[in-house]
Amino acid sequence: GAGVSQSPRYKVAKRGQDVALRCDPISGHVSLFWYQQALGQGPEFLTYFQNEAQLDKSGLPSDRFFAERPEGSVSTLKIQRTQQEDSAVYLCAKGLITGELFFGEGSRLTVL
């Protein structure tokens, strides 16, 4: 079954820097989700892929956020010109056939 591998686990960026967060749904899965979890909050939906197609990106908070999954496997979430309000844990999850989500351990981004 394997899991979901996210890297880096921790990232500290200076305001204005670009960051890239990686998600590998080990053993492959059709659907892949990105969530943002701010401190003290529940996960907030960002975007969803089915294979390489980004079917829903309605949750991306601004045009500084960009996600891709070019070969339908590994996905990258890119944040340009980071701001302090981008500080959060970014969670990646794969959708299982049972309807649930299987989450990775997350990437904690701190913008100074």
Partner: protein, 107 residues
């Protein structure tokens, strides 16, 4: 729009006491509801889903469409139940989470 509300951010009980974590939802249709749990320094993981009507680690949750609730219950809490609990509602491919309740079970 779908929405999930967990009214309690914090809940503390003594070991052996019953526990109920509240979840209310708003959804125009037949909801598919889940409870996820996050133990300290672990990933967010599924606890149970309403459609399977199962009991996991002694927890159960009943969907009450009249009250639009999906409260999580356990008759006798254990210290290892201390964790963050999130109620979630699935609409097609969109899984929406509540803000979570931190449960602390005291010895």
């Amino acid at each position: 729009a779908q929405r999930v509300t967990q009214p309690e951010k914090l809940l503390s009980v003594f070991k052996g006491a019953p526990v109920e974590l509240k979840c209310n939802y708003s959804y125009s249709g037949s909801p598919e509801l889940f409870w996820y749990v996050q133990y300290s320094r672990q990933r967010l993981q599924l606890l149970l889903r309403h459609i399977s009507r199962e009991s996991i680690k002694g927890f159960t949750a009943d969907l009450n469409k009249g009250e639009t609730s999906f409260h999580l219950k356990k008759p006798f809490a254990q210290e290892e139940d201390s964790a963050m609990y999130y109620c979630a509602l699935k609409d097609n491919n969109d899984m929406r989470f509540g803000a979570g309740t931190r449960l602390t079970v005291k010895p």
